[in-house]
Amino acid sequence: MKSIRRCQHIMSLFLVLFIAGMVTLVIKIQRESAFYMMNSDKHVLGMVYDRNGDVLFDGSLKEGDTSKYGENYFIDVGNLIGDDKGQMTNTLVAKNVEKLNNYSFSQGIVDEGGKAALYTTLDHKANRTVYNAFSGSDGCAVAYNYKTGEILVCTSIPSLDVTNGYKELGTFRDGTLMSKNLSGTVPGSTQKVSTVISALEIMGPERLLAKTFNCSGKYTNKSGKVIDCHELYGHGDLSLQQAVEKSCNPYFAQLIEDPDLPFEELKEMYEDLGYALNGEETEYFEIDGIECMKASTTLTDPTDFQTQWGCMGQGDTLVSPIQLMMWQSAIANGTGKMTMPHLINKVTDVKGKVTEKASTKYSDRLFTEKTAESMKQILLTNGANNYAYSVPNHKIGVKSGTAQVQNGDKENSLLVGFVDEPDFPIAFCVVLEDRNSTYLTAESITQTMLDALSSQAN
C-alpha cells in the first residue's frame, strides 16, 4: 500500500501546486485589479486635495467646465498635478491614477459618491501666491519642510489649467507641460555648494577654512585657460567664507587644482551626492511615482577648464531644482542625510478608507555632521551678511547662482537655501529665467514664498 500512498502523494502534489497557483492568482487579481481597470475605458477618477482640503484636481470635471472652480483655478500646480489625458505623463495624477480610481474589486466602479482621493502636502494658496509673484516671467520655485519631507510649494511657469483641455496645444509655450522643478537646469554658482561640501568632507573644515587663494580678476589655470571673475579688479586674498559670499570663480578654480583636494576623492564625493559623471546615463529618482532627474556634470581632470567650469555650475552641468533643495535639507538638519521629499500625505480608497499614509524618510548619509555644520554656518553667514535686506523676515542660509544658458544669451537667476528656524524648517530653490528681462529677482520671489508659507503656518 506504500506505493498506492505514493501515488496519492503525486496526485496531491499536482493538486496542491494548482491550488497554490489559484491562491496566487486571487491575490494578484486583488492587488492589480485597479490597474486592469485603468487600462479599460471605464474609470471614474476621484479628487486631489491640498494640505488644507482645497481641490487641486477633480476627476468629475468635464473638459472646459470652469463653472465650478473658475478660470485657471488649477494653473499654479497644473503641470505637477496633471490629469489622465495622456498629454502629460510625469505628473502626480498620471503616475497614481490607479489610486485615484473610484473602483474596488468588491464594489466595482462607483460612479457617484466614491471617495478615492490623494491628499497632498501642497499648499494651494502659497503656490498661487508664488505663481503670481513671477508676474509673467518664466521659472520655477519649490519649497519643502526639511524635517518632515512635505513639499509645500512646487510651481513652474508657464503652466496650464487642465480643465481647459488641450485644444490650444499648438500655442503652448515650451515647458508648459512639465514641471521644471523635476528637470535638470544649469545650476550656476549654486553648484559651489556641492564643491564646498566635497572639499570640506575631503580636507576637513579646519584645513579648508585656513586656506586662502588670491583673485586678481582672472585666473589662468594649469592648462592655460583663463577663468574670469565677475569682479573685474579681483577680490584679493579670499577665505572660503569670503569666496562663497563673493562667489569667486578664480578661488574655486584654484581649489580644484589644489593638491590637498585629491581629484579622485572629489569625484567620489560628487558621485555620493548623486551626480552622473562624464556622460554616464542620466538617472531619475522618484517622488510618489514622479520621476525627477538626477544631477550630472563633467569631471575629467583637475586642471581642465570644463571640469573647473562644471564645479562652478556652468557648462554641461545640470541639476534639478528639487535636488538642489534636497541637498539644502542635508545641511539644514545637520545630519548630512537628505530628507526625502513627498507629495502625497495620504491616499483614500473608494470607501474613504486610508490605504496609504506618508512617513518621513531620509537618504543615506552623504557627508558627515561636521561637514554639514560647517556648511550650514557658511550659508547662514552668507544669508546674514548679504540677504538680510532682500529676505528680511527669516533667518536663512543661502547661496545664489547665475546660470548662463542658450550659449550665454540668457542668464537665469537661482537661489537655494533654508530657513534656520525650529518652527519653520523650510528648504527651497527658486529659479528665475532670463533675469535681465524682468525687474524681479530670485530673492523677491523667495521672500514672497516664505511669507506666504509662514502666514499659512501661523
Binding site: 506505493s3 496526485m11 499536482f14 485589479s33
Partner: protein, 441 residues
C-alpha cells in the same frame, strides 16, 4: 444501490445547485424573453434527471464522481448559454450536445478502463490507436495543424491521444520487472516504448507549431515516470531522484532556450504594452475579471463575449465577469474535488493508481495552462478547461478521462466481475489488512 437515501440526497443537491444558478439567470440575467432562460432551465433539469436515472443501470461502489460530473457539466451549460445574452440556441445547443457526449464518454471510459486484465492484454491496441491518431494528424489536417475538419465538425486528434497515453502508462506499469538484456544494458521494453511515444508526441506538436498541449503530455509522462520510481521493487535512492530532477531541468532549459520564435514571444510578452495586438485577449480578460469583481455583472451582461475565444481560451475570465470570481472559484473547486476523490477512496491497484495520477496530472495542468495563461501568470496557450470550455473533442476526451477516474472507484480486479479482489501486485499481508470500503456516494 446500498444507500438509496444518500443517492436521493445527492440528486437533490445537484438539482438544488443548478436551480440556484438558474434562479440567478432569471433574476439577474440579460435575456430577450422569459422563454430563453425557461428553455435553458428545462434542458438542464432534463439532463440532470436523465443522467440520475441512467446511473441506476450502472452498478458502482461509488457515484461521487458521477454526481460531481453532472453538476459541473450543467454548470458549464448554464455558463455557456449565458455569455453575452441568455439564450439556448446555436452554440449553446452545440455545447449541450457535447455535454451529453461527455457523459456518454464517461460511461464508456468507465466500462473500458475498470478491468485491469482486459486492457493489459490488449495494450498493443492502445499503441495502435495512438499511431492512428498521429497518422490522422499527419495526413488529414492538410496544413501543419492539429485540427481535422469534417463538414461542420472540427476534431482535434491530439486530444484523443491524452487518455490513450494515460492508458499506455497505466497498462505498462506492471511490466517494470521484466527487464531484457539488450547488448550490455538491462532494459524494460515498455519504458523505451513510452519514452519513444513521448518523443514522437513532442516532435508532432513541434511540427504542428502547437505546443499548447505539450505540458499536459509532459505532466502525464512525469506522473507515470514518478510512479515507476515508486513501484514496489524499484530501487529508490536519492541518486535516482537527483538524476531524474537534473534530467528534467536540462530538458526544460534546452526547451526554453531553443523554443521557436512564437513561443519566445509569448514567454517575454508584456501584454499591457500591446493591448491591441498580442496582448489583446489577456488584457481584455483581466479587465473583465476586475470588472466582474466577486459577484459578477450578471449572466449575459458581460462584454468579453465580444472577444475571440471567450468561450474556451479565456473562458475563466468570461465566467468571472458575468458570474463573479467567487462562482468561478467554486466551479474550479468542484473539478478539484472530482480529481481528489481517489485521495479519499484510494485506488486498489497500481494500474488504477497510475490512471488516477495521469488524469489528475492532465486535468490540473490543463486548467493551470488555461487559467494562469489567460490571466498573464504564464505564457498564453490555447488549451481548454475540462468541461467548462466549449469544444467537442475536449469535452468527449475529458468525459472519457473522468470515466477512467470513476473506474478506479469501482474496479474489476483479476477479471472477476462484480467482486472486489485485490490486485496481484499488492503484497498479500497488507491487502488482507485493508478493509473493503463500501459507499454509495
Amino acid at each position: 444501490m446500498n444507500n438509496p437515501v444518500s443517492y436521493t440526497m445527492s440528486c437533490l443537491f445537484v438539482l438544488l445547485a443548478h436551480a440556484a444558478m438558474l434562479a440567478n439567470v432569471f433574476i439577474n440575467g440579460n435575456y430577450n424573453t422569459i422563454t430563453d432562460p425557461a428553455i435553458l432551465a428545462g434542458a438542464v433539469l432534463l439532463l440532470d434527471i436523465t443522467y440520475f436515472t441512467a446511473l441506476l443501470f450502472f452498478k458502482q461502489t461509488s457515484y461521487t464522481i458521477d454526481f460531481l460530473l453532472v453538476l459541473v457539466l450543467n454548470m458549464s451549460v448554464i455558463f455557456q448559454s449565458s455569455f453575452g445574452k441568455v439564450k439556448f440556441d446555436g452554440d449553446a445547443i452545440k455545447h449541450y450536445i457535447t455535454a451529453v457526449t461527455a457523459l456518454i464518454a464517461c460511461r464508456i471510459g468507465f466500462i473500458i478502463c475498470r478491468n485491469y486484465k482486459t486492457l493489459q492484454n490488449k495494450r498493443k491496441l492502445i499503441y495502435i490507436a495512438i499511431g492512428i491518431c498521429i497518422v490522422l494528424i499527419l495526413t488529414l489536417t492538410g496544413t501543419r495543424s492539429m485540427w481535422i475538419q469534417i463538414g461542420p465538425i472540427s476534431l482535434q486528434p491530439s486530444e484523443f491521444i491524452k487518455p490513450l497515453f494515460i492508458l499506455a502508462c497505466a497498462t505498462s506499469i506492471s511490466e517494470q520487472q521484466k527487464k531484457h538484456k539488450v547488448l550490455l544494458f538491462n532494459v524494460v521494453y515498455e519504458n523505451i516504448a513510452l519514452f519513444g511515444l513521448m518523443a514522437v508526441i513532442c516532435l508532432l506538436q513541434w511540427w504542428c507549431a502547437d505546443l499548447g498541449s505539450l505540458p499536459t503530455f509532459m505532466a502525464i509522462y512525469i506522473s507515470a515516470f514518478l510512479l515507476r520510481i515508486c513501484y514496489p521493487k524499484a530501487k529508490l535512492s536519492k541518486k535516482t531522484y537527483i538524476t531524474a530532477a537534473a534530467a528534467l531541468l536540462v530538458v526544460a532549459v534546452i526547451a526554453f532556450k531553443f523554443a521557436p520564435a512564437y513561443v519566445q514571444d509569448r514567454l517575454h510578452a508584456d501584454i499591457w504594452s500591446d493591448t491591441n495586438g498580442n496582448g489583446y485577449q489577456q488584457s481584455q480578460a483581466l479587465i473583465a475579471i476586475a470588472d466582474g469583481g466577486w459577484t459578477g455583472k450578471g449572466p449575459g451582461n458581460g462584454f468579453l463575449c465580444n472577444v475571440v475565444a471567450h468561450e474556451n481560451d479565456i473562458v475563466f475570465a468570461t465566467i468571472c465577469e458575468e458570474w463573479g470570481l467567487l462562482y468561478a472559484l467554486m466551479m474550479i473547486f468542484v473539478i478539484l474535488i472530482m480529481l481528489a476523490v481517489p485521495l479519499i477512496n484510494p485506488p486498489r491497484s497500481y494500474y488504477h493508481a497510475t490512471m488516477s495520477a495521469g488524469v489528475c496530472a492532465a486535468f490540473t495542468v490543463q486548467m493551470a495552462l488555461n487559467i494562469f495563461g489567460s490571466c498573464n501568470m504564464i505564457p498564453f496557450t490555447g488549451v481548454t478547461i475540462p468541461f467548462i470550455s466549449a469544444g467537442g473533442s475536449s469535452m468527449m476526451v475529458s468525459g472519457f478521462m473522468i470515466g477512467m477516474l470513476v473506474s478506479t472507484q469501482t474496479p474489476v480486479l483479476d477479471n472477476v466481475k462484480g467482486q472486489m479482489r485485490s490486485s496481484p501486485k499488492l503484497p498479500a499481508k497488507k491487502q488482507n489488512k485493508r478493509p473493503v470500503r463500501r459507499q454509495t456516494v
